[in-house]
């Protein structure tokens, strides 16, 4: 009599079989499938609801007032690249036909900061002296005098020396230092070149730009601009700030231009909240004095900018994240509660591989859910925001893809972290709470104005919440002093570096989980 031998084919124990087993476990628990669907749906729904509650208006809540005061805000002008720009300055120009050049010496550059209490028609009442680091005065060639048109300019700044800037987003540093400085701007065909000099005889080329489609006759001349003075005081419970308009005054002499007839134009005059009395020009002998206010630069987020970042459409990620964390933690803790873990480990005694298979399955599922949700939430939220009259910063296709894929990766890595913590704690409640608190709470403290800005930025560097940087859609420009705070959509780390912080924490948790799983009895 021979021993019993099973007629079933011998099962293989490859990693593929393990993946299939874990996928079957995930797929056949109805609550978890519902949880995954809920994660995808709330990611889209919360984003769309937040977009529906955003209308294009600027509101100010004054101290003591019960109701905020609101007014509609127009969309900002856009530059040659389609990006929103601020284009407000005083332009003293003459027509320049064909090739030619302008030379002038900036004899002095001074500034005034207006008092926020001053009335628009007496903007300089109570003003105090002070030149802004990015106050600008110099020579400019512009396609025409409408806001947002192409330009190239060589300028002296209040605190950053000579700069060569063109088409709003481009900035090249020249020689550092302050006035007096000789500047020269030449046009040859479509190419404009800027030079600077300390003495008017030895010239250094700072930069050149090709402005395609520049008309034959363009306005060219002198300009002055000075960006708003922003003082942000942060305190626990939020930050508050004052924004005061400033004026730059530049004295130009030794001017060498095709003609001596100058016209003054305030570019962007009468725009939102800009006082016209801050700009103008006067002439005495060979000296031209130009006074200007505003900035020629890309627009950045934060008050008083009306534009919104595309990342607003992804606010539902937090809701989806919480649902995914619950499912991912239960994926392992439920095995401990039901005793299934003993069957799992008996069938596949190599415990590290079990954990790896679980991580792959739960990560892949979370990635797919996140990818689908983000790919729907971004265009849908954008549509709702636009139909509410909001202006959205345009983003490149690569940025949009990075936001979608990054959100999916963020959800996947967080789900794997929840699995790892669940393996270590074996309890669902502790694992879910620990991961939610580690990932979401630092973001709340940093963004919802609970901590001062510096503390919030520190949190978004060192905690897993740094990963939300992958959703940043706004661009930070070094040549614009703006409020680059988490509240306004600017993260302290670059997108992938932020995600790497979360990956680091997850790797540590996964390593610890594998160690604990191998050492403990199930």
């Amino acid at each position: 009599m021979s021993a019993y031998q099973s007629t079933l084919p011998l099962g293989r124990d490859g990693f593929a079989q393990l993946l299939r087993a874990e996928w079957t476990k995930l797929r056949t628990v109805r609550g978890w499938v519902i949880g995954l669907l809920v994660a995808a749906v709330v990611t889209v729904a919360v984003g769309v609801l937040a977009a529906a509650a955003s209308h294009a208006s600027a509101c100010v809540l004054r101290v003591g007032a019960a109701q905020p005061v609101c007014h509609a805000i127009p969309a900002p002008p856009t530059g040659p690249g389609g990006e929103p720009v601020s284009d407000n300055f005083y332009f003293v120009h003459q027509p320049l036909t064909g090739d030619g050049s302008i030379t002038a010496r900036v004899d002095s550059l001074t500034g005034l900061i207006t008092s926020g209490d001053a009335s628009p028609d007496q903007a300089l009442a109570g003003a105090r002296p002070g030149v802004q680091p990015w106050s600008k005065a110099g020579l400019i060639i512009k396609a025409n005098t409408t806001q947002g048109s192409a330009y190239a300019a060589i300028m002296l700044t209040g605190g950053h020396g000579v700069r060569w800037q063109y088409n709003y987003t481009h900035d090249v540093a020249g020689a550092p230092g302050a006035a007096p400085r000789w500047l020269r701007l030449t046009r040859a065909g479509d190419t404009v070149t800027g030079y600077d000099s300390l003495d008017g005889t030895h010239w250094t080329r700072v930069g050149s730009a090709r402005l395609s489609g520049l008309p034959a006759t363009v306005p060219a001349g002198l300009f002055a601009a000075s960006p708003d003075y922003q003082e942000i005081s942060s305190h626990v419970g939020g930050s508050s700030g004052t924004i005061d308009q400033t004026q730059a005054t530049a004295h130009f002499d030794q001017i060498n231009a095709p003609t001596g007839a100058w016209t003054g134009t305030a570019i962007g005059a009468g725009g939102f909240a800009r006082s016209d009395t801050l700009s103008g020009f006067s002439r005495s002998g060979d000296t031209l004095t130009v006074r200007g206010s505003g900035d020629i630069a890309p627009a950045v987020g934060g008050d008083p900018s009306p534009a919104r970042g595309l990342d607003r459409t992804l606010v539902g990620t937090f809701a989806g994240l919480i649902a995914l964390i619950v499912v991912a933690a239960l994926f392992i803790t439920a095995e401990y509660r039901r005793g299934l873990i003993r069957t799992t480990l008996a069938a596949s005694p190599r415990r590290g591989r079990v954990l790896a298979a679980k991580a792959v399955v739960v990560g892949a599922v979370a990635f797919v859910a996140g990818l689908a949700a983000a790919a729907v939430a971004i265009p849908l939220g954008q549509h709702v925001l636009r139909s509410n009259g909001n202006y959205i910063y345009p983003v490149s296709a690569s940025t949009e893809v990075r936001m979608i894929v990054g959100t999916a990766a963020l959800l996947a890595v967080t789900a794997i972290a929840a699995l790892a913590v669940g393996t270590m704690l074996r309890r669902g409640a502790g694992a879910v709470a620990a991961v939610i608190v580690a990932v979401v709470l630092p973001y709340i403290l940093a963004v919802a104005s609970v901590l001062p800005t510096s503390a919030g930025q520190w949190l978004l560097r060192v905690t897993p919440a740094a990963a939300f940087a992958v959703q940043q859609s706004l661009i930070q420009y070094p040549q614009v002093s703006g409020q680059y705070t988490p509240t306004n959509g600017y993260y302290p780390l670059s997108p992938w570096a932020g995600l790497a912080v979360l990956c680091g924490y997850t790797a540590i948790a996964l390593g610890a989980a594998a160690y604990v799983l191998n050492r403990r009895d199930a």
Partner: protein, 257 residues
């Protein structure tokens, strides 16, 4: 009822989890508060809310209190202990009342301890960081009505968070899902409010969110600028807790264990 209270107290006392969680809640609350108080220093021209700084740790401590309250119910369901409990004590309303009273008492005691330690740490650290009477700041003291309101209100806040968690855990039974729902309720409102650009909606979201409304109780300066008043805010949280407890009581009453 006395027996029911005694039974609930014994259940919590004789397992190590609840005691650890209570200790962790107190320790984390005090540690975070002290860290924030140590990191904020006086700069001229800014105004700080000293009571609120000293109580920042509540943001983290409430999560641990929520775990504690959820596990007081869910642990019984996951181990099957709930069937023994209900056999010994068939009147479910008595059981619920006993659980709520024991949890409230424990959280009251732990919360008072944590808040007192926070205020003491804030008083010592903030004075050292330049928040002195010479700079126009009064020394943090519970003798002041607004500070007493912030401190006492924070203890009540923790109690209401525990009751909210208890109700949700009774309705959902599963501990992981319950804690996920509680933390989503607490944390999602401020995040969505920060993303909404319409100030009316921002105010409404701050007014109805259990955490944003409830923590208004901690504010001692600029109270008139808050979206919701301190006691009204705590009232909103009380409504959330009452609602959750009602749903939890109904689930306990109507469903088989």
């Amino acid at each position: 009822m006395r027996d029911a209270l005694h039974a609930e107290w014994t259940k919590l006392r004789t397992t190590s989890g609840p005691a650890l969680l209570i200790v962790a809640a107190v320790a984390l609350t005090v540690a975070v508060s002290a860290a924030v108080a140590a990191g904020v220093s006086y700069t001229a021209g800014t105004s700080q809310d000293l009571a609120k700084i000293s109580l920042t740790g509540i943001y983290l401590g409430q999560a641990v209190i929520a775990i504690f309250a959820v596990l007081a119910v869910s642990a019984e369901y996951s181990t099957g202990m709930i069937r023994t409990t209900l056999t010994a004590m068939p009147r479910r309303s008595t059981l619920l009342a006993a659980k709520a009273i024991v949890i409230t008492t424990l959280v009251l005691a732990a919360g008072s301890l944590a808040v007192l330690a926070c205020v003491l740490a804030g008083r010592l650290l903030l004075q050292g960081n330049g928040f002195t009477p010479a700079h126009g700041y009064r020394v943090l003291s519970l003798a002041e009505a607004s500070t007493l309101r912030a401190a006492g209100g924070s203890v009540l806040y923790l109690v209401l968070i525990a009751l909210l968690s208890l109700g949700i855990a009774l309705a959902l039974r599963d501990s992981a899902t319950a804690i996920g729902v509680v933390l989503a309720l607490l944390y999602l409102f401020p995040i969505v409010a920060a993303a909404v650009s319409n100030i009316h909606w921002w105010r409404h979201l701050q007014q109805i969110g259990p955490m944003t409304a409830g923590l208004a109780i901690q504010t001692t300066t600029g109270v008139d600028r808050l979206p919701i008043g301190p006691w009204a805010g705590l009232g909103v949280l009380a409504c959330w807790a009452t609602g959750a407890m009602l749903i939890g009581a109904l689930s306990l009453q109507l469903r088989d264990a």
